[in-house]
């Protein structure tokens, strides 16, 4: 068997030298740089939660840093998944997604235990503002992550998109944790966890459709 005429013509037509893709941790630094820049701007524009000083530092800056670390690891997994032969085992990927979600809930629960505040306007008012804020913070991080994923060659593009989506959302949540003063668990579950789920779905769906388009 020899290469067909079509294959040879296709290869010859586009045989420009290519630069090998950098390692996933180096590509991850790009997403991290964008995330940090956007989050600093968000803190500058919208400030920090008014009760920040009354909360222990491990619960505010400590948990935000831990969430950002978890988010970075998830984005790295997504970028690894985008390279053939470096895919993440399904169980490990699901475990990473679920545990990062549980971690976000645990941070919210601990904040509520230390400083319980209630929200009376679950359906309207500040809730949607929080969700929109979190979605807006996550969007650029998701965009740069997906761009890097799609520039590689993901074989399970929905999985790479899901990991990138959850990573971007958890990173955005790390910042909103420092900004949103409401620790009511219903507020947390509906608006903050809801935003994470939406971004995760968006990442997986965009990955899925991109995979279909690429063929």
């Amino acid at each position: 068997m020899n290469p067909t005429k079509d294959l040879l013509e296709y290869v010859e037509r586009d045989l420009e030298p290519v630069t090998p893709l950098p390692a996933s941790w180096r590509r991850m630094l790009n997403a991290l740089a964008v995330a940090v820049a956007i989050f600093l701007l968000a803190v500058l524009f919208f400030g920090l939660r008014p009760d920040l000083d009354s909360l222990p530092m491990w619960l505010t800056w400590g948990c935000a840093a831990a969430q950002l670390t978890v988010a970075t690891l998830l984005i790295r997994l997504g970028l690894r998944e985008s390279v053939p032969g470096q895919g993440v085992p399904m169980r490990s990927a699901l475990a990473a997604v679920i545990s990062s979600f549980v971690f976000q809930l645990a941070v919210g629960f601990l904040t509520w235990r230390v400083d319980p505040t209630t929200s009376t306007d679950l359906a309207a008012g500040v809730g949607p503002v929080c969700m929109r804020h979190e979605l807006l913070l996550a969007a650029p991080v998701l965009a740069i992550t997906l761009l890097m994923i799609f520039r590689a060659f993901p074989l399970r593009s929905w999985m790479a998109g899901l990991l990138g989506g959850v990573g971007s959302a958890i990173a955005a949540d790390a910042v909103t944790h420092l900004q949103c003063p409401i620790s009511d668990l219903r507020h947390l579950l509906i608006w903050h966890s809801g935003a994470i789920i939406l971004v995760a779905i968006a990442g997986a769906a965009l990955g899925f459709f991109w995979g279909r388009l690429r063929g």
């Binding site: 290869v11 045989l15 290519v18 390279v83 085992p89």
Partner: protein, 182 residues
């Protein structure tokens, strides 16, 4: 079975291919067409379709060539792409409800581990009776000579899981052979 010097030669070819060498592309095609065809045959059980899928694999390899990072092993990267091509093909034929006549496996050696079980033809038929995931691990490790680490990268499994799967599949193959399970 590929040796480490074969792998080094593939890395060298792949690096030159990334730099734009057509000869290197032809070299990779020549070196990998047969093992890829054997692997792809296990998905489609048809020689002609397996050959077409080898061609399709190299179309995809060309599109994905920038994702190979030297000096990583080339074969897991290549087999992962070919597996994707095979799964896409199976998905589209299922959607179109096509079915192809199954053929006998052409010119496929039986690995030494299987030789004692039964004659070549029987072993290959028994292999086809195993579940897809067990079959794939056995083919990749025992037939195509990939390490469990490499098999894990291709199938998105931890190396330990690949090893356990191979062990279970081999056990099942032995029990089928003992029962004369044809």
């Amino acid at each position: 079975m590929a040796t480490s010097s074969d792998e080094d030669a593939l890395v060298e070819l792949m690096t030159r291919y990334q730099q734009g060498s057509m000869d290197a592309f032809n070299g990779i095609f020549d070196a990998m067409k047969q093992p890829l065809q054997r692997y792809l045959w296990t998905f489609v059980r048809n020689q002609t379709v397996a050959e077409d899928l080898v061609q399709e694999t190299f179309f995809q390899v060309h599109r994905a060539r920038h994702t190979y990072t030297p000096p990583r092993p080339v074969r897991p990267w290549l087999y992962a792409i070919s597996r994707h091509v095979a799964l896409m093909h199976l998905r589209s034929t299922r959607r179109r409800k096509e079915s192809l006549a199954h053929e006998e496996l052409p010119d496929v050696p039986v690995p030494p581990e299987f030789e004692g079980l039964a004659d070549r033809e029987t072993v290959l038929k028994l292999l086809a009776k195993l579940p897809r995931n067990g079959q794939e691990v056995l083919i990749l490790h025992h037939l195509l000579g990939l390490s469990f680490q490499e098999v894990g990268s291709i199938l998105n499994l931890a190396p330990g899981t690949a090893k356990v799967r191979a062990h279970r599949a081999l056990k099942r193959l032995r029990s089928l052979a003992e029962k004369g399970g044809l």
